[in-house]
């Protein structure tokens, strides 16, 4: 009987987990900034999740559970330990350019895709990951809170800081004297 339950739960796991594969990989790749590490991380995530699936409580958010496993695995990896600096919710602003609140910011958000991607890469991992969860994975604050194991208030304040920091980076890239490696291309596609 137990064997049957194990098979059943493993089958259910497959049905729930495999549709998340692409997005989990994308997230892992953004965290690690390395293909091989991202592949290892996703494999480790699936292995851990399958082993621990019996502890998953039905009715709770499976997606958030999977992302939490992936993120915790990343945190315990060598790259994760190096990059995932402790977040001082009040101190993030000090390491990042401040967002400009002038109407020029409208130009910034029209920056091309590569510029936005470079901006995301430059963000510290805690700010990068929360932006990805909110904007790319379209998670609710509640889901982000479950994934990152932080209160909803912290989700909101960290999101605010992440957006502000990204705006600052994009604005900097848009300035002719700013650090824009491919400025000569001037590639703005308005996307």
């Amino acid at each position: 009987m137990k064997g049957r339950e194990d098979r059943l739960s493993a089958t259910t796991f497959e049905d729930l987990a495999m549709p998340l594969f692409d997005q989990l990989y994308n997230f892992a790749r953004w965290l690690t900034q390395d293909t091989a590490e991202a592949e290892d991380l996703v494999q480790e995530t699936y292995a851990k999740a399958l082993r621990g699936f019996s502890s998953f409580r039905p009715g709770t958010n499976f997606r958030a559970w999977m992302y939490r496993i992936l993120r915790n695995s990343f945190l315990s990896s060598r790259t994760g330990l190096k990059t995932m600096v402790a977040i001082d919710e009040e101190g993030v602003d000090e390491v990042l350019p401040a967002g400009n609140e002038t109407p020029e910011t409208i130009l910034i958000v029209q920056a091309d895709k590569e510029t936005v991607q470079r901006g995301l890469e430059e963000l510290p991992v805690p700010l990068r990951e929360i932006l990805l969860l909110c904007e790319v994975e379209e998670m609710s604050y509640q889901e982000i809170s479950e994934t990152l194991a932080i209160p909803i208030g912290t989700v909101m304040s960290r999101l605010f800081r992440a957006r502000k920091a990204l705006r600052g980076l994009l604005q900097q890239a848009a300035q002719p004297s700013g650090r824009q490696p491919r400025a000569s291309h001037g590639g703005r596609d308005g996307s």
Binding site: M18, F21, Q117, V136, L159
Partner: protein
Amino acid sequence: MEADQWREKLDQYLDGELPPAEAAALAVHLRACPGCTAEALERTHLKLALRNAGKRYQPSSRLRNKIAGSVAAKSGSRFSWQHFGWQWRLASLAALALVFATVWINSYLGRQRAAEQRVYSELADLHVAALAATTPVDVLSTDRHTVKPWFQGKIPFTFNLPELQGTNFTLLGGRVTYLEQTPGAQLIYQIRKHNISVFIFPERGTEAARLVSGAGNEMSFNIESWTRNDLRYFVIGDVSSDDIKALSKLLRDAG
């Protein structure tokens, strides 16, 4: 509420996290406040740009197959083709088809052999029973022009008999017989004192009709069989297969 206070709630509003009542009030404010509307537009642009830029990396199919395979393997109850490349899938399908075909052919041939055995055995019995009878034939004549008309009205078909002049075969006569409840003709020929039975049955309606034509033997009798004009012919006797073939050729040629 002042514009600055509304602006603080813009992110929540655009993230769909503002309670419905507040969201409705903010929507009303946006229609009246160009500054907040411009800000909302900029933040919406940023959200869209991030969504677009964030979907950046695609996993390799190798990784997908590897993980799908290990997950499916642990699920135990489900077979996944994703373990295998297309060559293996094709090869597996071909092998499976071959196995099915082999089983089907063996089964078909087995059934065919069994049917053949049954029919040949019955014909051998009919041949022996006729020879053992007090009157082996019902029409006793060496003349084919006597024997052939005798069958008229007794069997539901007609047939031709060969001219035997210049051969070692002699026609002894004929009788009506039955194979699998189907009436047919039995003709008895003789060569060097050996008797040979020629059986003729309509091809439709009997298992015998589905037999493969050719030579065979049953209990040391040699047998030859063929079909012609919707009739199934059997030639059976204790003579050599050459004699059986010779008589068969005469019958075939007679059409």
